[in-house]
Amino acid sequence: MEALDLARWQFGITTVYHFLFVPLTIGGAFFVAGFQTAWVRTGNPRYLQLTKFFGKLFLINFAMGVVTGIVQEFQFGMNWSVYSRFVGDVFGAPLAMEGLLAFFLESTFLGLWIFGWDRLPKKVHLATIWMAAIGTLVSAYFILAANAWMQHPVGYEIDPETGRAVLTSIGTVLFQNTAVVAFFHTIFAAFLTAATAVAAIAGYKLMKGRQVEVFRPAVKASSVVILLAAVGVAVTGDMDAKIMVQQQPMKMAAAEAVYETGTNVPFSILSVGDLSGSEATHLIEVPGLTSWMATGSFGGEVQGINDLQEQYVATYGPGNYVPYVPVTYWSFRLMIGTGMLAALFALWSLWIFRRQRQPEAGSTLSKAYAGIATVMVLFPLAANSFGWIFTEMGRQPWIVFGEQQTSDAVSPLVSSTEVWISMLGFALVYLILAIIEVKLLLTYIRRGAPEDVVTDPYADAVAAEKSDADKELYFAY
């Protein structure tokens, strides 16, 4: 393989992997903050147990998100130096802002939260997890604004002297509709992902009859969050589709494998045959749905791949402007399908545990539920990955839509040997870490929530301070 293909694979592998942890971190931070708030407000120790239990899982996940994120900050320069030069004036700004506004906030306040139980008054300690949670949102915003600029570059001009992009309006870059909608879509997806994990773990515990009183409120809260987030994901996804039709019509056409421009275009749920050619056999179709998704009207016109290709050749010169349709087509469907299953799971959970109901441990229902809950965690994670694969692959051949092609953006002097080394290195380390992480998560899920938690370690520490004795730290690595 050439260095270019390897660099693409490496970016794909490291980014998809990184984004397994990101939504769990964003949503998880708010769950932990929510449980801790409930504890501080009610004084009910169950909520502290939930805070500790999910807090631990959150930290195991967070560590992975942090370390895989470092790679992201650097690999634009490492593998895509031509891209970095071309866009740096515009793209670097949101990235630097993310570091200054978000990374410091997340990392510093999380350090305070982890180690601060006996060092900070209860409410100040609570504030630290909220600050970290807010930091995750800020981080998401800036990086999504940067990505939105690649999807739909605005607020810039091309310097005639250097041939590179130059920022003309930071406000336009940060607040264009592509960025705003992508942010809400991603955040709702993050809440959906984390809530599904919480619901599945807590529901599993209930079905096994363990710490039922602790985990019952968690199932209900997270199921409600799943449903709200699912609605949010769908609404913002619809908005995103309509923006995409305006800004990247080729991506929408490729999502549906629509080759010929037409009105009342159906949405195919299942297809066989050759999607990359101009013939595909759609087995199940919903009439007019694609038109409705794209335009808001069942009779709306959707531009086909062939027409768009011709238009692009006229605008950008000879070349192939069609993304790889089988990937866009299937990733789009799998994103929607795997994401929405979680909503069904939430409805089911709410139904099973309605009022104070509690299926007997060991019954067929409880066994089935526990089994489904175990795999259900994976579905929103898959949906996130498919969503990113869709939106990034659907932009191809562009790295910056209409301005720079991916094949032109790669570092010219980084050899394929070097990229082989780094790609295999990252892949190997990531694989080992994934195994370790999952095992750790399972161990801590199995252990359950701690009993007899110390409710006011700060007061104890203050008392010990007066007696001048060396008090054991409440928490230590």
Partner: protein, 362 residues
């Protein structure tokens, strides 16, 4: 503001970010390097790790922000350096990944073999960046093969690329700088440990600081005097280097007399003076070409334009003080010295009071 002022501001800010990173993550890495030597038993290793536990992640962010700021302010510098030093950066990334996960995971299983592996990750994850960052700076300052390449891509007409290999980075001057950063960070880490611990641990850390410090002083003086050959303004940088040397000796003297706080301030000053001296000597270049000085990347040919730099200046002016305040507050919150008697027996789970009910349940 004119573009000349703006590039000066951003050159200065990036220098400050690197100084911040080396002072803060420098002691994290120093503690990591010392882990197998001073951490003679599990309790001591845990004391060491817990001195940096609450702060290491925030410290590492200085590196990410230095990277991001370079991308925003000097994209051509970012592109050329990161693609050029590809494998060195890859090694640093792997090291930082392993180190970061190790801190969080090592105590999460009660298993000596498990902890031993993570301890190795912390050690390697500290030695590698502590050395390679020095090597990288050696190549930036001392020059590396950089030249334009033939290309027809738009925007790439005069772009400068690193044309050497990974092994070209490992030249005598940059390796000397690498050994210097490793030894200075180790000393700095030992002094930080002395400052943050008490009892036996503190004594051991002080002794180590003195022993390593003497060697570090010699290497640092050699490396920084050598760097004067490449300095654009020796009149300024040589006095800075001499001051750095005085500060370092001050740190050793303070350690000798048991004044850990002063010692830490002095090694921090040493790092700041040394890094600033490299940047002052480098200006207005940001990467020196060993092929032809016409191919040097400079603040002028590598920077973003006026508007971006102005926007980023405002962001930096508003945010930096806020970050410094809350990060400084963290150090205040965790100001207490730690001793082996303060380490809770059950790692991770908090105090022994936080018992797990379901530990044995499947």
């Amino acid at each position: 503001m004119t573009i000349d002022t703006l590039v000066l501001i951003w050159f200065g800010l990036i220098a400050i970010l690197w100084v911040g990173y080396f002072i803060l993550d420098g002691f994290d890495q120093g503690v990591g390097v010392l882990l197998p030597f001073l951490g003679k038993d599990e309790l001591r290793r845990r004391v060491m790790i817990n001195t940096i536990g609450p702060v290491w992640d925030g410290n590492e962010v200085w590196l990410l922000v230095a990277g991001g700021a370079t991308f925003a302010a000097f994209p051509l510098w970012y592109a050329t350096m990161f693609s050029g030093y590809y494998l060195a950066l890859f090694l640093i990334l792997i090291a930082l990944i392993l180190r970061g996960v190790a801190f969080e995971y090592r105590g999460k299983r009660d298993d000596a073999a498990w902890r031993k592996r993570w301890d190795a990750a912390i050690f390697v994850g500290s030695v590698v960046p502590a050395t390679l960052f020095g090597v990288a700076f050696g190549n930036v300052v001392g020059g590396s093969p950089i030249s334009p390449i033939e290309t027809t891509l738009p925007g790439e007409a005069n772009s400068l690329n690193y044309t050497g290999s990974f092994f070209d980075l490992l030249n005598p001057f940059s390796l000397t700088l690498g050994v210097m950063t490793l030894l200075v960070f180790t000393t700095h880490g030992a002094i930080f440990l002395a400052l943050k611990t008490k009892g036996e641990m503190r004594e051991a850390a002080r002794k180590t600081a003195l022993r390593v410090g003497v060697v570090a002083a010699v290497v640092a003086v050699v490396a920084l005097l050598w760097a004067q050959l490449y300095s654009g303004r020796v009149v300024v940088t040589l006095p800075m280097v001499l001051l750095a040397a005085v500060a370092f000796l001050g740190a050793l003297a303070a350690t000798w007399r048991g004044r850990d706080g002063w010692a830490f301030i002095f090694t921090s000053a040493t790092i700041a003076l040394a890094v600033f001296s490299l940047f002052v000597g480098l200006w207005p270049n940001v990467m020196v070409s060993s092929i032809d000085s016409a191919y040097n990347l400079t603040v002028y040919n590598a920077s973003s334009q006026e508007y971006t730099l102005t926007v980023m200046t405002w962001v930096a002016v508003i945010m930096t003080p806020i970050v410094l305040i809350y990060q400084g507050w963290t150090y205040w919150v965790f100001r207490k010295r730690i001793s082996t008697s303060m380490i809770p027996p059950e790692p991770q789970s908090g105090r022994a009071d936080d018992r797990f009910a379901g530990a044995a349940q499947g």
